[in-house]
Symmetry: C2
Subunit: 201 residues, 2 copies
Amino acid sequence: MKPVAKRVGRPRSFDRVAALEAAMVLFWRHGFEGVSIGDLTKAMSINSPSLYAAFGSKNALYDEALSHYLFLLNEELGNAFSQGLPVAVAMQMTLTSLAVALTREDMPPGCMIGAGSLRCGPNGRDAAERTANLRKAMQAQLVTSLGNAKALGELSDDTDVPSLAAYFATVVEGLSIQAQDGAGRAELLSVCAIAMRAWPI
Amino acid sequence: MKPVAKRVGRPRSFDRVAALEAAMVLFWRHGFEGVSIGDLTKAMSINSPSLYAAFGSKNALYDEALSHYLFLLNEELGNAFSQGLPVAVAMQMTLTSLAVALTREDMPPGCMIGAGSLRCGPNGRDAAERTANLRKAMQAQLVTSLGNAKALGELSDDTDVPSLAAYFATVVEGLSIQAQDGAGRAELLSVCAIAMRAWPI
DNA sequence: AATATTATTTATCGATCGATACAAAATTGT
DNA sequence: ACAATTTTGTATCGATCGATAAATAATATT
């Protein structure tokens, strides 16, 4: 049995994941430019040298917080499109789960990706670009899922898959703004139900 | 004939409206926190004391830029709901005009209100709140327009007007994020067409 | 021409920004 | 016990933040 590799030197005295999640919540709620190193160190209960030693820079910390958020969100949403369900049902389920996720009382409202760090100055340009890339990746994933459904005959041959994916991406991003502005869970679920009426055929 | 009131003192040497529009474009593109006084004075071609004398503060300048943006947007969109058209047609026209407005090549992409200054730190809290209030006002206006249509029998008695208004507000806000992320005019128009398929009955 | 009023330019204010230098403390390897 | 390595707390860096003081310039009023 190989012994557990023990890192030489003084051990870290804080929980790196807990600190990362504290930073995630701050970035989630206030955006990249709305959070200062001082805000972060206070919420993470560490001093700035520890932050830089553990995470590198404010930009790198935002990156890691964003990735962690995406991981948690995927865990909460699951992937309804890979379970053999009718694609319209999978879409409805995904929207419903999202409406719930966007209105959790123990977390900031809205989506860190869908409505996060939208507009930034020069300091936040990289963070905004990486966040936008995740939005585009989610939309590309929708194109794939809907394209698969079309290939299986679940959508008619004349379905414009990229436009349909863009429509649902639009709805998802709009839901995130609605949640951020204080819309409740019931309201978001009503919007999802109406949005599904645009489903083809 | 009353003579033109001449203000005493040295006259302002710059065009106040032109300076305001330069500030508007900056805030529009980068959000409240993404723009510094230095950025503003450079774009407005004035020094900071002139900015403060003419507009009061960064917050007041943002306020005025936001109001000016709203004025210009209303001018561009018109009010299709007050022209006796079928309400579905008015909605379609409004969405189409919006898709065009969000993708003007001579202006920043997206909407300064729909996706502006969403998340902010303590410095930008007021700006974010005022922007959010305009979003809510637009949604309230939608409730009124759709409610009027329902009263006129254009929408069935069981139509959930607040939810339908929330749906279209969601679409509008999502369109703004799509535009900001680089979606073209054709893509937005396709999304609008799909969104209208959710229209009741 | 003299005075009052406002705008402009230059220079700078204290506060905060993201990021680090440095030495003491805590661990592993020898 | 001692050296090597890493983290910690304190203190602070230069840059930039939003905002302003002071002196000068340009206008209207008298």
